[in-house]
């Protein structure tokens, strides 16, 4: 296995991953290498396996073959320690998945206190600072049901930041939002990316991808068709499938 992890620069390595759900193949040999501080967007038609790649990196979905490594942790190992992994990776979901019985502040602070066993006062201080960063310090005591979709998603982003991960996975985080709320969430993500956080985004926001990404991957039917820096990718797509997809969405 060590021979495959060729690139020592890579912080996230996905190597030749296969996954099917029942008879339906979802990933058919996907490989990615993402360096520290890189911002990567994965785009492609629905059902092409974009979200599954993220879920595999986060161990929410097991792989059938291949291996995944994040910051020295073998995600695909049978003996995976989820607590060690959540120091490295955190995920923002399409449906926010905030805990409805906890306030915004508790949502942000509970996992570092309960799982990482960090000092409560320090965590709460950090959580308040993060809520301020996503411009929701005035909603610290509000329950998720009292917040708009955009606000909930920003709390969810603060929640992942409070875990102090080294990579953040964004799984179509604006897809469930009303159009007028997309901007506020994207601007938070842009700030995070600008601060040097390693980010892997699955998105349908082409303009946003072009703006923030260091590299764009295009997936179709479970394989990565091509990857390129955004300028090149949008100006001069190499593969026929990429061209046909872009002509539909741009």
């Amino acid at each position: 296995m060590s021979s495959v992890a060729s690139n020592p620069q890579a912080f996230v390595t996905v190597h030749d991953v296969y996954k099917s759900f029942g008879a339906a193949p979802v990933l058919q040999g996907v490989s990615l290498e993402i360096g520290r501080g890189e911002v990567v967007c994965i785009i492609g038609p629905s059902g092409s396996g974009k979200s599954t790649i993220l879920r595999c990196i986060n161990a929410l979905t097991s792989v059938d073959a291949g291996f995944i490594q994040v910051g020295g942790i073998q995600v695909t190992s049978k003996k995976l320690d989820m607590v060690a992994l959540c120091h490295k990776v955190s995920m923002v979901f399409q449906q926010y998945n905030l805990f409805p019985h906890k306030t915004a502040l508790q949502n942000v602070s509970m996992a570092p206190i309960q799982v990482l066993r960090q000092n409560r006062r320090q965590v709460e201080e950090r959580a308040r600072a993060l809520l301020k960063k996503v411009q929701l310090e005035h909603k610290a005591d509000a329950y998720p049901g009292e917040l708009s979709g955009g606000q909930q998603q920003r709390v969810a982003i603060a929640r992942t930041l409070c875990m102090q991960p080294e990579v953040i996975l964004f799984d179509e985080v604006t897809a469930a939002l009303d159009p007028e709320m997309v901007g506020e969430v994207l601007s938070v993500i842009k700030d995070i990316a600008a601060e040097g956080m390693t980010c892997i985004l699955v998105t349908h926001e082409m303009g946003f991808a072009r703006e923030v990404a260091d590299r764009i991957y295009f997936t179709d039917r479970g394989v990565i068709v091509e990857s390129a820096p955004p300028r090149e990718f949008f100006a001069n797509p190499q593969d026929e499938r990429t061209r046909s997809f872009l002509s539909k969405v741009l």
């Binding site: 995920m91 979901f93 449906q95 998945n97 805990f99 019985h101 799982v115 979709g149 955009g150 009303d178």
Partner: protein, 277 residues
């Protein structure tokens, strides 16, 4: 996604604390205001059925005796709901556990006891639970009502197990995924994230189960517990007056009604309160 916690909840919900105290407790007050009305109605019914004020005296005379029996009904129901709830939580969590070694026995036990007649389970327990137990050299008699209570505990446990399973499965899977990606283990996810969200969904069916349980406790009269039903029959035999039959049983029904009705109302009230949160 159309769940209660779906994405389109961007409206500000009026906070319950903004309502006046009167508005908050109006529901509860209504429950207690209805008491004298129903009491009057039942008494009138009893009197009309007997058409004789002499019968009233008989009812009055036997009231402490029936009340004494009713305390056994309450005691049996509290014992069974207490232990049945504790057992049901474990059995219900067992039904949704990640390991098949746990889920299969839990599901089998739940289905067997949920689909068995309460009376049959009651008979089983009356005969299987020993009449006396010796702990540290001292021998204790196990009273009849306690053995009957164990008999009621089993179906309550199985029914509550299903309530727990249903509530846990009604929580969107996104909650489990979010918890897992934050490093929570299964047991911690269950205790800190899933069960707290389930409690409000479980309270109305749980109170409903309690009301059903209480109304099932007169079954214990068949196995010789001196509860309200047994005592009513004893009183009727002692009076040996056939005109007393209908009023006496109406009186007994009233006892159960007065105990169960507030519970039913309270569960409706709680249901509507949790609806707004």
């Amino acid at each position: 996604m159309t769940g209660k916690y779906g994405p389109h909840v961007g409206i500000d919900i009026a906070h319950p604390a903004e309502q006046s105290v009167w508005a908050q407790y109006r529901g509860l007050l209504a429950i207690f205001a209805i008491f004298p009305a129903v009491l009057g109605f039942v008494l009138v019914l009893a009197v009309l059925a007997g058409a004789d004020f002499g019968l009233m005296n008989a009812l009055w005379k036997w009231t402490p005796f029936i009340f004494n029996g009713f305390l056994y009904n309450v005691a049996m129901s509290l014992f069974a709901i207490g232990f049945g709830t504790i057992g049901g939580i474990f059995l219900g969590m067992g039904q949704v556990a990640p390991s098949r070694l746990v889920t299969i026995p839990s599901r089998v036990a739940t289905q067997i006891f949920r689909n068995a007649p309460w009376l049959v389970l009651l008979f089983y327990c009356i005969f299987l639970v020993p009449y006396q137990v010796t702990i540290g050299g001292t021998t204790y008699q196990v009273p009849n009502w306690l053995r009957a209570s164990i008999g009621f505990t089993i179906p309550v446990m199985a029914n509550f197990s299903e309530i727990v399973r249903g509530a846990v499965q009604s929580i969107p899977t996104g909650q489990w995924e979010a918890a897992r990606s934050l490093g929570y283990k299964w047991s911690r996810t269950m205790l800190s994230i899933i069960l707290p969200q389930c409690i409000k969904r479980m309270i109305p069916p749980w109170m409903n189960l309690y009301a059903i349980l209480l109304m099932a406790t007169p079954l214990a009269s068949i196995v010789g517990v001196e509860e309200a039903m047994t005592n009513t029959r004893t009183a009727l035999q002692a009076e040996a007056n056939s005109r007393l039959l209908l009023p006496m049983y109406a009186y007994l029904l009233a006892w159960f009604f007065f105990y169960c009705y507030p519970i039913a109302r309270l569960s409706m009230y709680l249901e509507s309160r949790f609806e707004t949160r």
